[in-house]
Symmetry: none
């Protein structure tokens, strides 16, 4: 949790409400033809109006030059140093598809791959089989039974799936079987500690059975596994900040992350409009809301500059409804940048605004990468966002006399 | 001390002089009607002129969102990480009213409180009795005698007082007696380590006698105690920086803090004019001066925007006299912000300027929150100020060959 060792001494509950809107992949880069980023191109009068009355800045999700995944990107915004607090890859993948990972479960990321007659890998991604095929083959692998352990095999997309084991005495101390190159056989799963012996044996047995079941399924005739992990033990947001936090997010990954940090995850629909309906209905029940907006990121991932612009404009149109809720602190942040020109997440700092009754006159010209750098908060680590939120919500008392 | 592990290797005395003017509560926030902060509203031609020829920036006293008290705010400016170096609350309160706390003494913050016939607390602050009443009752409690130990009871204001014990073998390892809620009795002081046994017994005896003496003094018919503490052992400014440092401050709190870090505290009068007279008289005797200016903070605490503006203008008028002393490095800093709109200390970064023969051409448009952000130093931790001061004074040699 927040790396301020005296936090418990200064945090104090109050009736004020914080609304943190996370626009996934918010930040961008200039279009080569116009020299303007997605936010600078979009017509976003409400966000611009807000930025003129907000403490603005740029958040650094992890570190200079480091591109975060969704896990570290969100952990930072929730106040966790994403270098110190990590989530295993298997667990993150499982959460991302909505699996109900519980304490003691072990999850791993799986790849379908192609092996030749000698069992040597010829394609680590099985020619990127279709997601439909992945669903079929995952179902086939679900037939594998292991003594005393429940197994779940769930498709992710293309060649990727999740293997989850549930039972007593399981450990994530198992080495990965992906050799990270072709021309060699998948590695055997080995225990990385005495605790891992039982699990390594079970995984070896599972892989043997999988090899048999997939014999006729070329190019997806074998599997590799990596990122064996337990649920991480994270300090809980409610305890650390003395908040009653809730999360509203359409996608499983974000619901899962919110659950990991101890937020109450409120069921909602798949559109942002439905998310806002949910917010309205539950507004009186919590003093902190994390509200997730996905479409801008998806457009950025697709490299679709005009669609990202459009999705930012759609977000902008929703702002008045959020302001009508009268949050004491309203934050618009991003977990990372997803510049359309890069077609993926990037390392660039992310525009940020915090609006409260104390931020009048602190604003900048508009809400975008260039203007936010001139804001009252400058460039700062995302893991400091929660301190700013608590301070502006009047939930922090003086440190020292 | 400064978190630069090789400081001792590079610091070198020189005849140059550093003058650090600390304008208490310097930073502010925009007035809702004008959109301009106190500094932006004030007519401060001398500070503006200086800012145009200085390395400017914004200091972060403790951390994002963290509002410092005077202790952490000043420790930072003197080069101490205020998260690492802390001063006990009892000692800080004692220092704040000018008590002569010595090594081995134990000081605690006291509250007069109200208890009912069953001894349960009904008001933790005794209805905030007048300071006059506090003075009377503190005098009454001064009559308490403890075997082998000298006791001092000194009024602070309203319901607050300081209890100080002086004797051999005293320890601050005593639990606080304030239960932090009403409807329960004050807690008994308990030893928090074997070392604390003797002191806990003495404090219990003192509380018993206090209860008797206050029986007829409702609403102030009982006391609670907390923040038992010794003088902290802080590295000394003179040793660490190889300086001969002096402090000139009208208020006891700041003189006490300066003494804690090893500055020579020069007696002075209650006005800033008298402080400057003192500075002039002793200018040749030291190579570092900490000069404290209080009135802007007091106005901010009162929520009096126009008066804070006026007090900043009064400070500005004094600048030429300070420049006439020809300090080699002249710093204008604040220990924290005290925006009039917040009526108290705040977490906002604080305008800062450092003027020396090497800062011509580095300046910004004027001396205020907005302009300083664009300065040569940007936003930086207050605990880095001393390194900048020493460097610009030519007191740091090259690190590494």
């Amino acid at each position: 949790m927040i790396d301020f060792p005296h936090l418990a001494d200064i945090v104090e509950p109050s009736p004020s409400r914080i609304l943190m809107l996370v626009a996934d992949g918010l930040g961008g880069l200039p279009h080569p033809e116009t020299g303007k980023s997605e936010l600078e191109t979009a017509c976003i009068p409400n966000l611009d109006w807000l930025a003129q009355r907000s403490a603005c800045g740029l958040t650094v999700p992890v570190d200079a030059g480091v591109t975060p995944g969704s896990g570290p990107g969100h952990l930072g915004l929730f106040g966790y140093d994403p270098v110190k607090y990590t989530i295993g890859r298997g667990v993150l993948e499982a959460i991302g598809i909505g699996l109900d990972v519980r304490d003691g479960d072990v999850a791993a990321r799986g790849n379908f791959c192609t092996v030749d007659a000698q069992g040597l890998i010829t394609d680590r991604r099985a020619g990127r089989i279709s997601t439909e095929r992945c669903v079929d083959l995952s179902k086939r692998l679900s037939a594998i039974k292991l003594a005393g352990v429940e197994t779940v095999v769930a498709p992710v997309r293309e060649h990727r799936f999740v293997l989850m084991l549930r039972g007593v005495g399981l450990s994530p101390d198992v080495s990965e079987t992906d050799p990270q190159k072709t021309g060699v056989a998948p590695l055997d799963p080995r225990a990385e500690s005495a605790k891992g012996n039982k699990t390594a044996k079970l995984v070896a047995e599972w892989v043997t059975q999988a090899r048999g079941l997939l014999a006729d399924a070329a190019p997806a005739n074998m599997v590799t596994l990596r990122g064996f992990s337990h649920l991480p033990q994270l300090p809980q947001v409610g305890d650390a900040y003395r908040l009653k936090p809730a999360a509203i997010a359409a996608y499983p990954m974000y619901r899962g992350l919110a659950r990991l940090v101890g937020m109450k995850v409120i069921p909602t629909g798949m559109t942002f409009g439905e998310e806002m309906d949910t917010l309205t209905q539950h507004w009186r029940e919590h003093d902190f809301f994390y509200l997730h907006y996905k479409p801008a990121d998806s457009a950025g991932e697709d490299g679709d500059f005009p669609r990202k612009v459009k999705m930012l404009e759609a977000l902008d149109a929703a702002i008045p409804r959020l302001l009508d809720m009268k949050p004491d602190v309203f934050i618009v942040a991003g977990d990372h940048s997803t510049p359309a020109v890069l077609k993926g997440h990037s390392w660039h700092p992310v525009p940020f605004l915090l609006h409260s009754q104390w931020t009048g006159g602190l604003g900048v010209a508009g809400f975008n990468e260039r203007a936010c750098r001139q804001g009252a908060l400058g460039e700062f680590p995302a893991s400091r966002v929660m301190l700013q939120a608590l301070a502006h919500a009047g939930k922090l008392v003086k440190y020292g006399a």
